[in-house]
C-alpha cells in the first residue's frame, strides 16, 4: 500500500488528569472515507479537533503527507489549509454574506484572485443548490443551507482532506438529508474524509471504514458491514443496540 495520507500514532489527549484519547493509532489512505462512531463524550470530536491542532496533544504524533502537525507551530496555518473542517454549530461568519464567507480565506490566506475564486465558489454553490443565496447573510439561511455553505467554504481552500464534526446533529430531519447528500456526492468524487456522526444508516452507506471509539480507545476498526452485522466487541454490540427498537404492541 502507498504512503498513507494521514498517519496517527499513539495519540494521547488529556484534559487535566482526565484521559480523553488514549493511545490512538490509525492511518487514512488517499480517497478513504472514515466514519468515527461512539457514545457522546467518548472523544470522537476531540479526535477531529486534535487532527486540526485546535487542541494541544500530550503524546504521539499526527502526520499529514509525512509532515507532523504540531499545535502552536509556525507552519500550522499552512498545514490547516490542507484540512477542511466543518463544525456542528454554524460557524459561518455572521457579518459577511455567503459569497464573502467563502472568498475570505482563499483571498486573504492563499492570495488568489477574486474573480477566479468567485467563479469556483459559484460553481460549487450551484452544485449544492445554493447559487441563488450568494448574496444572503447567514441568518437568512436555514440550518441545512448554512452547513452546505460551510462545506463549500471548506472546499474552496482545496483541502486534501475533510473533517466533519457532527455536522447534522443540530438540524431538523429534512435538512439532515440535504447535507448528507452533499457529503455522499463528495465521497463519490473520491474525497478523503473523516466523519463523526450519529447517523448510523448514513455511516453505513458512506464509510469505507468504521472506527468505533469507547472511553478514548479505538475498540473496532473495520469495514461497515462487519461492524454493523458482526461487531466483535460487547461494547459495540451494546452501542448498536441503542438504535434498535422492538415493537411495543
Amino acid at each position: 500500500m502507498a504512503e498513507p495520507l494521514l498517519k496517527i500514532e499513539h495519540l494521547t489527549k488529556k484534559f487535566e488528569n482526565n484521559i480523553v484519547l488514549d493511545d490512538i493509532s490509525f492511518d487514512v489512505a488517499q480517497g478513504e472515507v472514515i466514519v468515527v462512531v461512539g457514545a457522546s463524550g467518548c472523544g470522537k470530536s476531540t479526535l477531529l479537533r486534535c487532527i486540526n491542532a485546535l487542541e494541544p496533544i500530550q503524546g504521539g504524533s499526527i502526520k499529514l503527507h509525512g509532515e507532523e502537525i504540531v499545535y502552536g507551530s509556525k507552519n500550522l496555518a499552512k498545514m490547516r489549509q490542507q484540512i477542511g473542517m466543518v463544525f456542528q454549530s454554524y460557524d459561518l461568519f455572521p457579518h459577511k454574506n455567503v459569497i464573502d464567507n467563502i472568498l475570505l480565506a482563499p483571498m486573504k490566506v492563499q492570495k488568489r484572485k477574486k474573480s477566479e475564486v468567485r467563479e469556483e465558489a459559484m460553481e460549487l454553490l450551484r452544485r449544492v443548490g445554493l447559487d441563488d443565496k450568494a448574496e444572503s447573510y447567514p441568518r437568512q439561511l436555514s440550518g441545512g443551507q448554512k452547513q452546505r455553505v460551510a462545506i463549500v467554504r471548506a472546499l474552496c481552500m482545496h483541502p486534501v482532506m475533510l473533517l466533519f464534526d457532527e455536522v447534522t446533529a443540530a438540524l431538523d430531519p429534512e435538512m439532515v438529508r440535504e447535507v448528507l447528500d452533499v457529503m455522499l456526492s463528495l465521497a463519490k468524487q473520491g474525497r478523503t474524509m473523516i466523519i463523526v456522526t450519529h447517523e448510523m444508516q448514513f455511516a453505513r452507506a458512506i464509510a469505507d471504514r468504521i472506527l468505533f471509539i469507547d472511553k478514548g480507545k479505538i475498540v473496532e476498526d473495520t469495514d461497515p458491514d462487519t461492524f454493523f452485522e458482526h461487531p466483535a466487541s460487547d461494547r459495540a454490540k451494546q452501542f448498536l443496540n441503542i438504535f434498535n427498537f422492538e415493537r411495543s404492541k
Binding site: 480565506a105 490566506v109 437568512q140
Partner: protein, 219 residues
C-alpha cells in the same frame, strides 16, 4: 437675561469650546487606542502584560478624573516630568477613558463565540488574520453602544479641565461669573455650548446603533 452680554462674550465661549473639543477628541482618540490594546492583551491572556493592564484598569476606574489630573499636573513636575496643561488634559482623559474603552472592547470580544475563531483558524488563517477579519469586526459592532456611551461620558468629564487652569468652557463661565456676576447668562451659555458639542454625538451614536442592528448582518 442680558442678550448684549451674551453676544459680547460669545466669541470667548467659541474659542473655549474649540479647546474643549480639541482636547476631548485627542484624549478620546488616545483612549480608544489604549482601550483596544488593553482589550487584546486581556482577550489573549498575555502573561505579565495582562496583570499590568488589570492594575491600570482598577486604578483608572476607581479614581476621579479630577484627582488624576491633579496628580499629572501638580505631582509629576515634582519628580521632573513637566507637561503643559493641554497635553495634561489629553493624557488625563486618555488615562481615564482607556480603561472604559478596554472594558467595552473586551465585552465585545468575549461575546463572540470561540467557534468563530476556530473556524477561521481551520480555514488556514493566522491568528492575527482571524482576529482582523472575523473576530474584530463582529466585536466592534457589539461594542458600539458601550462605546458611544463612553465617548459622551468622557466629553462630559472635560468640564473638570478648568481645575488645571485650562481655559475651557467651564473655566470661561466661572471666570465671567467672577468678573461680572452675570451668573445666569454665563451658565446659560455654558449649557448651550455643551449641548452643541454633545447632542450631535448622541444622535450620530443612536443612528449608527440602529444601522448596525438592522442592516449590518442582513435582516
Amino acid at each position: 437675561m442680558n442678550w448684549d452680554f451674551i453676544q459680547e462674550y460669545l466669541p470667548l465661549y467659541e474659542s473655549a469650546a474649540l479647546l474643549t473639543v480639541k482636547i476631548g477628541v485627542a484624549g478620546i482618540a488616545l483612549s480608544i487606542v489604549i482601550g483596544f490594546l488593553c482589550a487584546v492583551v486581556l482577550f489573549f491572556k498575555i502573561p505579565v502584560l495582562r496583570q499590568a493592564v488589570s492594575v491600570y484598569i482598577e486604578i483608572s476606574r476607581n479614581t476621579p478624573l479630577l484627582i488624576q489630573l491633579f496628580f499629572i499636573y501638580y505631582a509629576l513636575p515634582k519628580i521632573g516630568i513637566k507637561i503643559n496643561p493641554e497635553v495634561c488634559g489629553m493624557v488625563g482623559l486618555a488615562f481615564l477613558g482607556g480603561s472604559y474603552m478596554a472594558e467595552a472592547f473586551r465585552s465585545g470580544l468575549e461575546a463572540i463565540e470561540p467557534i468563530q475563531m476556530e473556524s477561521a483558524l481551520s480555514l488556514g488563517m493566522e491568528k492575527s488574520q482571524a482576529l482582523r477579519y472575523v473576530v474584530l469586526p463582529q466585536a466592534v459592532s457589539i461594542s458600539v453602544p458601550a462605546f458611544v456611551a463612553n465617548i459622551i461620558f468622557l466629553l462630559k468629564e472635560t468640564s473638570v479641565f478648568s481645575a488645571i487652569s485650562l481655559m475651557d468652557l467651564m473655566f470661561t463661565a466661572k471666570d465671567l461669573i467672577g468678573q461680572y456676576y452675570k451668573t445666569t447668562e454665563s451658565l446659560f451659555l455654558l449649557v448651550v455650548f455643551y449641548l452643541i458639542i454633545l447632542l450631535p454625538v448622541s444622535l450620530l451614536g443612536s443612528f449608527i446603533e440602529r444601522r448596525l442592528r438592522y442592516a449590518g448582518f442582513g435582516s
